[in-house]
């Protein structure tokens, strides 16, 4: 399991964080997603053998958000 933090600049309300957290029920290999509207971040804990960063970004794109891996 690894943890990756993404910056999601297009979150516009607390509802967005809940939408993004809902991806944890959709994506195989995701253990947990914690999204924060205040910080505009999404932390994903997932199994790299089952899921890639690109797939996470694609899934978020599909529901209208554009996360970028956090450089920090």
């Amino acid at each position: 399991m690894v943890k990756k933090v993404f910056r999601v600049s297009d979150m516009s309300c607390p509802n967005c964080a809940m939408h993004l957290e809902g991806l944890e029920d959709e994506l195989p290999g995701v253990k947990r997603i914690n999204a924060s509207y205040k910080k505009l971040t999404m932390e994903v804990e997932f199994d790299e053998a089952l899921l890639s960063v690109e797939q996470i970004i694609e899934a978020a794109n599909a529901i209208g958000y554009h996360p970028e891996p956090d450089a920090n």
Binding site: C13, P14, N15, G22, E24, D25, Y37, K38
Partner: protein, 344 residues
């Protein structure tokens, strides 16, 4: 806060504002159940009204209404135990005002710092609710989901909860939350019934309207707070001073020491009284039902709940010439003045 105001707030700002917090999670998960119902009753697809879709939404909203009414009752009871003084009520109203102001500015994207005005429910709670909502398709689920919304209050709802606390009455607190949540229900029902996609459109197009309405309500709340601490400066007091300046020029100085307490406030708005001598005034009510009955004179540490109809005497110690004492109702509405500027 007036029940009609609470209802209209729910119907407009509350309904739209709460959609942002609750619809995405709850209406969409409710739609999951609705989809199952639709699949199970595809033969009914041609019918205009679909009770199989309406029923779970109705149950969800009913549970939400009951849960929030109970919450309002408990908040009002907590307020009565705390026995909020006018100063505490004023601080509460000012805090509500600042909270709503911050949320309004956040929705207008004025500055990232305003995102900190949002109270986000903890992830474990939203996760639990989300997963629970997808368990089974029984009618118990929407009832349960509706009850759980008390853990996902939107900004306006949080402000209304604070107002329920400020009523210091279980019945008034319950009535306030009931009126507000009832007001939010039509929009919530429509959005859920006509497919959840609509909520995204509503959010997009109406966010600014919600933000502006919230800013107006914020100013009303701040105004109430200022009136309750007896501040000589407030928006409504400034407005009243203009009205009084015009009416005084027509009616001249008031001669009686009677204040008529009406549903719209106190008449006269400014009562001129003799200085340097104790005076008595009479509050006169006649089938008065608004918060004007609960009169607060912060400068004299006076608070009285008047009967709906009757006369109540108020003795005021001698005041120096030129003294101005502000008073209002316990909700900070109807700011009025006692001016001690008459010679005996």
């Amino acid at each position: 806060m007036d029940l009609i105001v609470a209802f209209v707030t729910g119907l407009t700002t509350g309904g739209l504002g709460c959609l942002a917090v609750q619809s995405g999670l709850l209406a969409s998960t409710l739609a999951y159940q609705v989809e199952q119902d639709v699949l199970a009753h595809s033969a009914d697809a041609s019918r205009k009204f679909k009770p199989h879709i309406a029923r779970p939404i109705f149950l969800f909203l009913l549970a939400k209404l009951i849960a929030y009414t109970i919450l309002g009752f408990l908040l009002g009871a907590a307020g009565s135990v705390l026995q909020l003084t006018p100063l505490m009520s004023a601080i509460l109203y000012l805090a509500i005002g600042i909270f709503m102001l911050g949320n309004g500015l956040r929705m207008l994207n004025v500055h990232p710092v305003f995102r900190y005005f949002v109270i986000e429910p903890p992830s474990f709670l939203t996760r639990y609710i989300r997963r629970k909502s997808k368990d089974g398709t029984s009618l118990v689920t929407p009832l349960f989901m509706g009850t759980l919304t008390i853990f996902l209050p939107c900004g306006v709802t949080q402000a209304m909860m604070a107002a329920a606390l400020g009523t210091s009455s279980p019945v008034q607190g319950a009535a306030l939350m009931f009126a507000f949540i009832l007001g939010t229900s039509p929009l919530f029902f429509s959005v859920s019934y006509f497919a959840t996609r609509l909520s995204a459109i509503v959010e997009k197009h109406f966010t600014r309207i919600v933000a502006v309405t919230m800013l107006v309500l914020a100013l009303v709340s701040v105004d109430s707070g200022l009136n309750l601490i007896g501040s000589p400066v407030s928006f409504s007091r400034t407005f009243n001073s203009v009205v009084v300046a015009v009416s005084d020029s027509v009616n001249g100085v008031q001669s009686g020491f009677v204040i008529n307490v009406t549903d719209d406030g106190y008449r006269p708005i400014v009562l001129h009284l003799p200085a340097d001598t104790p005076v008595s005034i009479e509050w006169v009510t006649e089938d008065t039902q608004t918060c004007a009955r609960s009169v607060v004179v912060p400068g004299l540490d006076y608070r009285e709940i008047l009967p709906p109809t009757g006369r109540v005497r108020f003795d005021i110690p001698a005041q120096e010439k030129g003294t101005v004492i502000n008073y209002t109702c316990s909700m900070g509405m109807y700011p009025s003045q006692l001016v001690f500027d008459l010679d005996l």
